[in-house]
């Protein structure tokens, strides 16, 4: 009787939270101006919690922490959590270990949307409800819908393969249009290029406030419904016999995950592989149940992206590396490993 159903253990949550906090403090403390980590911790808690207490930092440091580094770090947390969690959910929804927002065409859809907004001067990619972000959002959703429709139309006995192939086809198609626009409007190429590589550079809290509502709502709903992903794991037919309205559940979860991805991509540009690396790492460390994978992916995705951003900011000081380069550097080899084990 001592065997319990799979669930997130308190100790895992504490560990995951500690990892996130460590990443935050490190990322805020390190930079052109080094700041005392303990002061950073105090100042961060001061910013996060109600009430007011003295962190021991001077005014300049407080400004750096509060208006420069903390917004960027918080944005990193949100984007990382969103990408990792939507990756986990896509893997469950499509019963495919290779499902990742990037591979499902979300990224190229978002890229096309953003490019359209740039070249027609609809926005500059900055600020709340900017057209670049809205277009990226719409493009990303459209791409997932197309990939999914094509994947479902394909060979059902090899659904996993046909979905990935559909993602490749959709991504190529969107990229083709995007490249055409980019070449036709070369004056915007630098803007487009920067957006494409992804980045968390911010000027204040506007991106955070744009992403926050989407992230929080979607993440809460996905964590609440992650047991359904475990039911889906036995396949459509058995899940139906177990009383699950498979079609509706799949649409609902895929829409939530797509919203989450699109919201993140719209503010951060394209950051690949987070949705693949994090859920699989969690799976390896803590087990294969989505009741464990989804909640823990939030924490590890958040902390991981903040650390990647720290690397992107500091490796080539004073210039900045696009964060997508850092995640791809870790992600591509990881992808090969997953591919090998998935094809076992």
């Amino acid at each position: 009787m001592n065997v319990r159903p799979a669930a997130v253990r308190i100790s895992w949550l504490v560990g995951a939270a500690a990892f996130v906090l460590l990443a935050v403090v490190l990322a805020v403390a390190v930079g052109p101006t080094s700041i005392d980590p303990l002061g950073v911790l105090a100042e961060t808690l001061d910013a996060a919690l109600p009430g007011d207490f003295d962190s021991g930092l001077n005014e300049r440091e407080v400004t750096i922490v509060r208006t420069l580094r903390l917004p960027r770090v918080v944005l990193g947390l949100l984007v990382g959590a969103s990408l990792a969690t939507s990756g986990a959910v896509f893997q469950g929804v499509f019963r495919n270990p290779l499902a990742d927002p990037y591979l499902l065409g979300v990224a190229s859809g978002g890229g096309l949307g953003a490019t359209i907004a740039f070249v027609y001067d609809l926005g500059d990619g900055k600020g709340l409800l900017d057209m670049v972000q809205i277009f990226a959002f719409v493009g990303a959703l459209l791409a997932v819908a197309m990939t999914w429709a094509m994947g479902v139309l394909g060979d059902r006995t090899r659904a996993a393969t046909s979905l990935i192939l559909a993602g490749v086809a959709v991504a190529s198609f969107f990229t083709a249009i995007q490249t055409f626009l980019q070449q036709a409007f070369t004056e915007d190429i630098r803007q487009v290029y920067t957006w494409f590589l992804g980045g968390l550079a911010t000027s204040g809290w506007s991106e955070v406030s744009q992403l926050l509502p989407f992230s929080v709502i979607c993440l809460v709903l996905l964590v609440a419904s992650c047991r359904m992903l475990d039911v889906l794991a036995v396949g459509d037919e058995e899940a139906t016999m177990l009383g699950m309205p498979v079609g509706r559940v799949r649409v609902a979860l895929a829409v939530l995950a797509s919203l989450l991805t699109a919201a993140a991509v719209a503010v951060s540009g394209l950051i690949s592989f987070v949705g693949l690396i994090i859920p699989h790492t969690v799976r390896l460390l803590f087990g294969s149940n989505y009741r464990v994978i989804v909640p823990l992916s939030i924490f590890f995705g958040a902390g991981f992206l903040v650390l990647c951003d720290l690397a992107a900011r500091t490796l080539l000081t004073p210039s900045e590396l696009p964060i997508g380069v850092v995640t791809a550097f870790f992600g591509a080899p990881f992808f090969v490993v997953i591919l090998r084990t998935a094809n076992r």
Binding site: S225, R227, D230, G287
Partner: protein
């Protein structure tokens, strides 16, 4: 709960998988769906579960199954698939608890009462210690029981089981089916299962539905459905049906056991064995060679010293021995004579492979001879003497059973002498069995160095003497001549 299905039809890509199938099950009844591969058994279960588009209607207690939301349907019907999908990394307990899905709010987790039910169910299925195991590490039989556990915790009054015991060993088959039988209670659970094992189907089910080509071929109690005629017609199988203590027992009547292969080195390493039989390829002859069998059907050779006049014996024991080639060849000549007289002829080969004896075995089987290769698994390796001995004893048991059964007029026990000479089988019972055989069973024994006891019980004993053997000059066995 009662299940009623009428005029069900399923057509996929112009192929009618089911047509006009009707089925009813009273509350607490167990209906077993049988039929050959591809008859539509699994399709029927899927239709009953409401997950396959179909024409016709399925009702449970009067409610249309197809119209129910999945959740409500799952509270009424549970399903055990033939080969459950295995989610990698999921524990057995978690897998079983998936069965609670229709009883849980979509956003909530199993409660402690659910977990307790899961553990109890695992206990019932002899899976107590498996709770923490990953389902992807289970054996087929374990997985099948776990899937039954998942259906049980679903607590649906109607259970559909698709080949629930196909991967189970005999003990677990009986345990699981008895458990299901008990769980039917007093009309509390209705069971509809497909079954390949017809004896089990007939034993446990109240009614049998025989499907063939997507249609109902028969429906009724086991005794009326499980008939030799039905099984012969729809399964194209020859069976023997007996009634043992109220259970219809179906046993196969296998005409041709499959052949098997000995290692290739058998040829080279065992030249001392008489096979292949040798006739001189330069002088093909219709006569049997050195054994000089003189009996034939018109002039029965029956020298019974007790009588002066020639008489026809009911049967004879012929022993072909000696170090020359031709002992088995002569025996197979007798085999052909037996076949020509419309006898039931059986051959038991003790130290040969099906591979090796293609010639005589092929023609023997074509002629309807009951052919038993009992030499399978001989290793010719002294380390495995115990195994060889066991195989030899098993082979002799087959031969003994055939002799005592009395179903054959002629039995050829090819190379039996080696089993005796090497001490693998106890000689006395062999002589006793041959001596006390049913009076119409003739026996031909071949092999070198026929022991005294065997010669004593034989009527005809011939010795084939080697004058020349091609193997002495390094000439290997010749196909068509030697085998």
């Amino acid at each position: 709960m009662s299940v009623a299905a009428s005029n069900l039809g399923v057509t996929i890509k112009d192929a009618a998988l089911l047509s006009n199938v009707s089925l009813t099950a009273a509350p607490g009844e167990w209906v077993s769906v049988i039929g050959p591969n591809g008859a539509g058994k699994s399709t029927l279960l899927r239709v009953l579960a409401g997950v396959l588009p179909h024409v016709g209607s399925v009702t449970i207690n009067g409610a249309d199954v197809a119209a129910l939301p999945p959740r409500e349907r799952a509270k009424l019907v549970s399903w055990v698939p033939q080969s459950p999908t295995v989610p990698v990394g999921m524990s057995v307990l978690d897998f079983v608890l998936l069965g609670r899905t229709p009883h849980l709010h979509p956003l909530s987790s199993p409660k402690s009462s659910d977990v307790e039910l899961g553990h109890q169910t695992l206990d019932m299925l002899d899976l107590t210690t498996f709770a923490g195991r990953r389902v992807d590490t289970l054996s087929g039989g374990e997985l099948q029981r776990v899937a039954i556990g998942r259906a049980l915790v679903q607590q649906a009054p109607v259970m559909l089981l698709d080949e629930p015991t196909s991967a189970l060993d005999l003990g677990h088959q009986q345990d699981v089916l008895t458990l299901l039988d008990e769980l039917r209670g007093n009309g509390e659970r209705t069971i509809i299962s497909t079954m390949h094992d017809l004896t089990l189907a007939g034993h446990f089910a109240d009614r049998i539905l025989l499907l063939s080509n997507g249609s109902v071929a028969a429906d009724g109690p086991a005794a009326t459905v499980l008939t030799e005629a039905n099984i012969s017609k729809h399964y194209r199988a020859k069976v023997l049906i007996r009634n043992v203590q109220g259970t219809v027992v179906i046993s196969p009547r296998i005409a041709t056991p499959s052949s098997f292969h000995l290692p290739a080195h058998f040829h080279q390493k065992s030249p001392e064995f008489d096979h292949p039989e040798d006739h001189n390829p330069d002088s093909p002859t219709h006569q049997e060679g050195p054994t000089a069998m003189s009996e034939n059907s018109t002039e029965p050779l029956t020298e019974n010293p007790a009588e002066n006049k020639s008489t026809v014996a009911k049967s004879l024991v012929v022993v072909n021995t000696g170090d020359g080639k031709g002992k088995s060849s002569a025996a197979f000549g007798i085999m052909i004579r037996g076949v020509a007289r419309d006898w039931n002829v059986g051959v038991v080969q003790f130290v040969k492979s099906g591979d090796w004896n293609v010639g005589e075995e092929k023609i023997g089987r074509q002629l309807g001879v009951d052919w038993h290769n009992e030499g399978q698994g001989f290793t010719w390796n002294s380390e495995d003497l115990e195994q060889d001995k066991a195989i030899a004893q098993q082979g002799w048991e087959v031969a003994r059973a055939l002799i005592e059964a009395g179903e054959h007029q002629l039995l050829i026990l090819d190379e039996l002498t080696y089993l005796i000479n090497w001490g693998w089988i106890d000689p006395e019972p062999v002589y006793e069995t041959i001596k006390n055989r049913p009076e119409h069973v003739s026996i031909v024994v071949t092999g070198r160095d026929a022991p005294e006891g065997l010669i004593e019980v034989a009527d005809t004993v011939s010795e084939v003497v080697k004058v020349k053997h091609p193997f002495d000059k390094g000439i290997v066995a010749k196909k068509g001549i030697d085998y």
